[in-house]
Symmetry: C2
Subunit: 210 residues, 2 copies
Amino acid sequence: MKKTAISFTKKTTHSRKNSYLSRLWLVLLLVAGGWVTACGPQSEKEAAKTENNIPMNEEELMRKAIALSIENVANGGGPFGAVIAKDGHIIATGVNRVTANHDPTAHAEVSAIRAACEKLDTFDLSGCEIYTSCEPCPMCLGAIYWARLDKMYFANNKDDAKQIDFDDSFIYDELALPLSERKLPAEILLRDEALKAFQLWREKTNKIEY
Amino acid sequence: MKKTAISFTKKTTHSRKNSYLSRLWLVLLLVAGGWVTACGPQSEKEAAKTENNIPMNEEELMRKAIALSIENVANGGGPFGAVIAKDGHIIATGVNRVTANHDPTAHAEVSAIRAACEKLDTFDLSGCEIYTSCEPCPMCLGAIYWARLDKMYFANNKDDAKQIDFDDSFIYDELALPLSERKLPAEILLRDEALKAFQLWREKTNKIEY
């Protein structure tokens, strides 16, 4: 510890300046690298379109989502990818990182929605469309409704997902059942006390509704 | 810039040591502050229980979720709060931060699940229960299934949420409809190409299933 501290204090202003410059370059490289990673590999045709700001068509956007799903298997994630686009231009992409990130909500669609909202600085993606390599599970479909996306395109369906042991189909079946018949135990508690928050919300004048 | 660099290099090893110590204190204070904020205010009885490591009962845990939902209205969020507990001890809490964080997926339950998974370093919350101030919407209910929570308790229901203009009930109705009858337009594209990712997943030997 002491040695590090001493060697650090020995740096001259000049070498520190160089150090700042090299850090700046590193940051720029990382940002550029992150951008390339976020957009993923593209076909030459797609790359040319992106470069020339030409909108991609529906099949090209779906091929991008599929390519992400295939890459993600090699990268230790689930076989799912999603793209959010506006007027044929990709706003953001997402892949399934549930096990990698220890986040059961990190499905491709949810990840893409979060990334698109961050990029556009909004919680409302009206005017955008989602291309997902597999029919969304109820969690992701819910997220698509809350994000107000205009349309969804999907490739694999929930029965295909069931064939490789994903629970999408099971969760759809559960949601269709009345509370008392579901596998997940549920209990209602203290509704009278909880209604106070809803009354406060109703009475609030300067709220942002959504 | 130069001035800062020079004054920094003039520090002695001793003062740097002090600086490290004060930074360490600052980090500890921030961590402690974060913990207190994450747990939010408690009644005296709850605080005493937490201090003595005595498990809270179902009603106390739900009251905590309700208190969070009430506070959140004052803090510019939606009227929703959630608590994830294990053996009567709070693991993590969450509130609705959709508009505040520009994240349509930042519902109380999803936020609590993410926080609990981060805390326990897992994507599987088996053995935990969720207490939410309102019946989960399909997105959150889906997240509860994916997180493998043992049980859910809720207070307000989806019809109460409808009364204050939240779309929970509408989304439940939509999910129950066949694809072609939903308000959200949907289109199937390139399924044959997308199946490749599922085949790769099936053939992969070292995958983490979930």
